[in-house]
Amino acid sequence: MTFMNDPIVIENLTKNFNGFRAVDSLNLKVKRKSFVGFLGPNGSGKTTTIKILTSLLSPTDGRAYLEGVDVAQDPKKALAQIGAVVETPEFYPYLTPVETLAYLGELRGISNRDLKQRTKEVLETVHMTEWVDKRIGKFSKGMKQRVAIAQAILHEPSILILDEPTSGLDPRGMFEVREILVELKKQDYTVFMSSHLLNEVQEVCDEVALINKGQLLRNGPVSELTGADKFRRLEIKTIQPISEEWLGRISKLHDVSELEIAGPNIFVLSLAGGDEAQANLLRELYGLNLDVISFKESGMALENLYMSLIKESR
């Protein structure tokens, strides 16, 4: 096994709940310093897998390793390697963020000097510096989620495990947490994040693992997986209003299909091929004297792949 390169290794992982198989012989490896989106519909086994990885559940069969340590065999050593946000954790309402981080930091053996410095840093990272001395009992869900992320990165773990970190948050809370995720991506963490929000995954993840009914459907780099489908969805905004005549002309361009108007001067299309085909399309659009304002890949490619795989696995 290559634990040096793969800090998270899941082997034949199975979890049964009273006859219901939530995770079914799951095999997965997560590469070091990658940001992996763990995708699947509700009830697909994402959270169960994450709970086994964080020792909140015991596997019925199979093994999960964190930095080469079997979580079920030696949870203390395995969990020392990770920071985690599972579901929507609740906090002790009588503690402030600083005290909560001190509690968890002391349990992890961070020295007092480092603890003070790191607490300041992580609370800055999650934009909670104004609330350091307020008791968490009064915090909103979004604020609690930010403190949850702060505690997960407090000890600078090599692995971060996040379970739907934006779940249940209002749009502002989602935006704030997503900003933090983008910030984390710039650092040296290996991040394993479950989500069913495809745009979120496409925005922050390098790789995805798709799961349904507890089984892995596909995994790999986002670009490769969507490219493997030889299909990408593009959204194009123009100065000119898009008329039927324009649609007729655009539909005749190379590799274009499923052309639709998405607004007065916006249209979306599917393009067979990769980056070269996309660059060629832009040239051809200019060739038609169409004034393109924006030309971007929409999250639809991943969504398309996701939906087709989920449908296949039913």
């Binding site: 709940f17 709970k51 964080t54 020792s55 909140l56 559940l57 015991s58 949870p75 203390k76 050593k77 395995a78 969990l79 020392a80 390697q81 990770i82 985690a84 599972v86 579901e87 929507t88 954790p89 609740e90 906090f91 002790y92 009588y94 503690l95 005290e99 909560t100 509690y103 968890l104 002391e106 349990l107 992890r108 053996g109 961070i110 020295s111 480092d114 410095q117 790191r118 840093e121 949850a148 505690q151 000890h155 600078e156 773990p157 090599s158 495990i161 710039k186 650092q187 040296d188």
Partner: protein, 284 residues
């Protein structure tokens, strides 16, 4: 030892503490919980009320205080078991189950801490809160006894020790209930009802049937009050009304047996509590 160097060159060195050190951390923050929660304050308020009533009522009703220190303390000691039950309910009833029900377990359990460490730390903190309540209660009672009778009740001090042992046994049973129950409210109610109603009823039924309920922890707890009586009372069987077929049994727990029973409850309840807590999964 884990060494991680971040991009900003700051180096965090973490040495995973020993299990014993982690117990200390859990104790520290659970005691902080009790100090900040209204439960400890409420408990102290209740015992203040009990102390006021016991101290103020006799003169108000025209009775004189006993001039004997042991006899003086006896009235106070006879109410301790109720205080202990309230304390066990507040400090143990939901200690474990609340981590699951209120989802704080999602924060705590993914940390590198063994379940027995959490259980031990929480239990020691609960003991600390309970002992604080008992020290205040006995401190005031023994102090009043000294002031009023002019002598210190050594039997009162023995009663305190037995009360502490009973408190630990009650807490252990509370932790067992908390480890098994799904809801915090149910755990709190069951802990209270078990000592106040269920065990009391069982104990009285057994007594009526002529069976000495020496194995029941609430019966064993009776020694807290009896120890301050001089001489130590003895069990008796009689027919006070003189009617046919009616026999009244009065059983007094033996001190040695009661200590053994309480220790037994502590060990069994804590072992079972650990067993259930360790196996318990954070399902929802």
């Amino acid at each position: 030892m884990t060494e991680i160097v971040t991009k900003n060159r700051k180096k965090i060195v973490t040495t995973l503490p020993s299990d014993i050190d982690q117990v200390g951390v859990v104790v520290k923050y659970d005691i902080l919980k009790y100090l900040r929660s209204r439960r400890l304050l409420g408990m102290i308020a209740i015992e203040t009320l009990v102390l006021l009533l016991i101290t103020a009522l006799p003169p108000l009703l025209g009775h004189q205080y006993s001039s004997n220190a042991d006899s003086f303390i006896n009235t106070y000691a006879s109410f301790v078991t109720i205080l202990v039950v309230i304390g066990a309910t507040l400090f143990a009833g939901d200690a474990i189950v609340s981590e699951f029900q209120s989802h704080t377990g999602f924060l705590l359990f993914p940390n590198p801490v063994k379940r027995w460490v959490l259980l031990t730390g929480k239990f020691i903190a609960s003991m600390g809160a309970m002992f604080l309540v008992l020290f205040i209660y006995y401190g005031v009672a023994l102090g009043l006894g000294l002031a009023i009778t002019g002598s210190f009740s050594t039997l009162g001090a023995e009663s305190l020790l037995l009360a502490m042992l009973y408190a630990v046994a009650a807490l252990a049973v509370g932790y067992l209930i908390s480890s098994v129950m799904k809801g915090a409210t149910g755990a709190l109610i069951l802990t209270f009802a078990l000592f106040i109603f269920i065990l009391t009823i069982v104990s009285q039924l057994l007594t009526l049937g002529g069976v000495i309920p020496w194995f029941l922890v609430n019966f064993a707890g009776g020694v807290i009050g009896y120890i301050t009586e001089v001489p130590y009372p003895t069990s008796s069987t009689g027919n006070p009304g003189g009617g046919p077929g009616f026999t009244m049994n009065t059983y007094v727990p033996d001190v040695g047996v009661s200590i053994a029973v309480m220790v037994g409850y502590i060990i069994v309840a804590l072992v079972l509590s650990y067993f259930f807590f360790k196996r318990r999964e954070m399902v929802a």
